[in-house]
Amino acid sequence: MPIDKFVKLESTCVPLPIENVDTDQIIPARFLKATTREGFGDNLFADWRYDKSGNPKKDFVLNDTTYSGKVLVAGQNFGSGSSREHAAWAIVGYGFKAVVSSFFADIFKNNSLNNGLLPVQVSKEFLEELFQAIEKDPQAKVEIDLDNQKITLLPTGKSESFDINPYKKKCLLNGFDDIDYLLNINDEIEAWEKAHD
């Protein structure tokens, strides 16, 4: 699936200061019965977001109009648990373009990158500053500059650089996907098979 290009993003943030947010919370299993990639955004964080009758729970951040934006800021070890890519689809489907945390689970990170969602891993200190800044002013914006691998908290100008695999960076900047790349090296794959099969 071709992905959206990601170059630079300036946005307010939605804070979720909880650690170990697992993919069962991001999208509970009972919503995994769809056979397409669309529509998961409606059930993002479903059990935290809606009560039993499906009404929005007031105290959950996605239902709090104070906060909005394309950047989700979450506690450490975000996306642990199941490999369900539906978690990334739900976050993208809801309208987020980036997730900031001090630590991401491996498979979630790959799944995000494969869907044009940028995982931005920052230090614990920077994450704490972000949470505080957002609490102080929900309109506080961050700028995420993929080319320079830099995230800046605009009200204070404080910035930090983040890591990304150079290959994945190129894919995101250009909207390339891995399968196109792999289909293009078919000769090499065939050669490996001849030697090993």
Binding site: M1, P17, I18, E19, N20, D22, D24, Q25, P28, A29, R30, L32, K33, A34, T35, T36, R37, D47, K52, G75, Q76, N77, S80, G81, S82, S83, R84, E85, H86, A88, F103, A105, D106, I107, N110, N111, N114, N115, K124, N165, P166, Y167, K168, D177, D178, I179, Y181, L182, L183, I185, N186, E188, I189, W192, E193, H196
Partner: protein, 466 residues
């Protein structure tokens, strides 16, 4: 030059090429497919107008959505039925073997791969499912992938992967009576946390690991994902070869001899260097139980839930949320807590050895009246063997019901949901909020601890009965 680790030997052999400054292109020997994470990948192939490149290296099963009662009837839940049917259509269209509902080889994907001899040492194995790490118990590189990656493997039989770092976890010595492999892995996770091995591929080693059966090794590798690891693995040895030999898809005759020679070369060299190494003593491990909402929140069964002040500051909010969800108080003892449900099954503990352990524990006793118990074999073959060994009868005499195979209450995509607010002792791998049904409260444990809970109706130390 230092020797190579088990992981490096397999990895290096399977690298087709390396992207400049980027990941490696890794050749995949076996691709397991199930109904939940594959439909979008098949659709992707269709959109691109391409085929499954090596259908003979691909095998599918339906396990997540299927009911555990009345499998001969059409699935009642419309969406589940649609998804399972979709898998059958996709497999038909793309020429992939499917062991679907009612097939004699149907079962949980991580149970059937090994029992059919499809999973073998030295292989690279993937599946759109995080517990693919299970197959690492055979000395293979096995890990879970997302759906975009499922499509990648279907299209090219390769995967772009960054080489993870390597970790070895050594468990030395003899286990206490009543302590089994599930306790070992819950213990490790409680020590290093759910992110403790993120970025690593873990090799489990040491005398306590070498003495385990294949089923027990699978339980450990299965849960390596719960410590954040990319995957887990155990060096193949005579126990491994003995298990694989003679199975449906295992090599036979001269092929077998050739394979054995290769497999014997796989274990990590004496002088191999790991990026990180951890050591634990088997004797320190008690029967384990979890009290919170991630698998790292586990303690020895005789211990108490940590107090708030024992928890790191930054984690306190998360800890409190978890206590609230479980309706437990910090500092509470686990022994004696009430239990409403017992679930024995899943790709962690749904194998014949697990059913045997459970059955021998409860034999001649009676299920507590306040407990609803679901005993769900991991596959039809496990079910048939349990039947043959008289396990079903032992269970029934003690008031238990053995259901039909599937993932069942491990993730509650079918009707097997623990009701809101109820407490379940579960032999599965995840105690996340809502994992076993909205509002369900899960305590992870071994089949022995589950058995002790099932007959007493509360959290009980299984050693009291041994």
């Amino acid at each position: 030059m230092a020797g190579k680790t088990l992981f490096e030997k397999i990895w290096d052999k399977h690298v087709v090429t390396k992207v400049e400054g980027g990941p490696s292109v890794l050749y995949i020997d076996r691709h397991f497919v199930h109904e939940v994470t594959s439909p979008q990948a098949f659709a992707g192939l269709r959109d691109r107008g391409i085929q499954v490149r090596r259908p003979e290296k691909t095998v599918a099963t339906a396990d997540h959505n299927i009911p555990t009662l009345g499998q001969d009837q059409p699935i009642r839940d419309e969406l589940s039925r649609f998804q399972v049917n979709k898998l059958a259509q996709n497999c038909e269209e793309f020429g992939v073997d499917l062991y679907g509902l009612n097939h004699k080889w149907n079962g949980i994907v991580h149970v059937i791969g090994p029992e059919l001899g499809i999973t073998r040492p030295g292989m690279t194995i993937v599946c759109g499912d995080s517990h693919t790490s299970t197959h690492g118990a055979f000395g293979s590189i096995a890990f879970g992938i997302g759906t975009s990656e499922v499509e990648m493997v279907m299209a090219t039989q390769t995967l772009l992967q960054n080489k993870p770092r390597t970790m070895r976890i050594n468990i030395e010595g003899d286990l206490q009576n009543g302590v089994v492999s599930k306790d070992i892995v819950l213990y490790i996770i409680s020590q290093i946390g759910t992110g403790g091995a993120t970025g690593y591929f873990v090799e489990f080693a040491g005398s306590a690991i070498r003495s385990l059966s294949m089923e027990a090794r699978m339980t450990i590798c299965n849960m390596s994902i719960e410590m954040g690891a990319r995957g887990g693995m155990i060096a193949p040895d005579e126990t491994t070869f003995e298990y694989v030999k003679g199975r449906e898809f295992a090599p036979k005759g001269a092929e077998w001899e050739k394979a054995l020679t290769e497999w014997r070369q796989l274990p990590s060299d004496e002088d191999a260097v790991f990026d990180k190494e951890l050591n634990y003593k088997a004797a320190d491990i008690e029967p384990m139980i979890t009290y919170g909402t991630n698998p790292g929140m586990g303690i020895g069964i005789s211990q108490s839930i940590p107090k708030l002040e024992d928890i790191e500051k930054s984690t306190q909010a998360t800890f409190k949320k978890s206590m609230q969800y479980m309706d437990f108080q910090p500092g509470d003892a686990m022994i004696g807590k009430k239990v409403d449900y017992v679930f024995v099954g899943s790709c962690t503990n749904g194998r014949i050895e697990d059913l045997r352990a459970f059955a021998s524990f409860i034999k001649g006793k009676k299920k507590a009246d306040n407990v609803t118990a679901w005993i769900v074999p991991g596959s039809h073959q496990v079910e048939a063997q349990a039947e043959e060994e008289g396990i079903r009868q032992i269970l029934e005499e003690a008031g238990f019901e053995m259901r039909q195979p599937g993932c069942s209450a491990c993730l509650a995509m079918n009707d097997d949901k623990i009701p809101e607010g109820n407490y379940a002792v579960s032999t599965s791998n995840r105690n996340f909020e809502g994992r076993q049904g909205p509002g369900a409260r899960t305590m992870l444990a071994s089949p022995l601890t589950a058995a002790a809970a099932a007959i007493t109706g509360k959290i009980t130390d299984p050693r009291d009965f041994l």
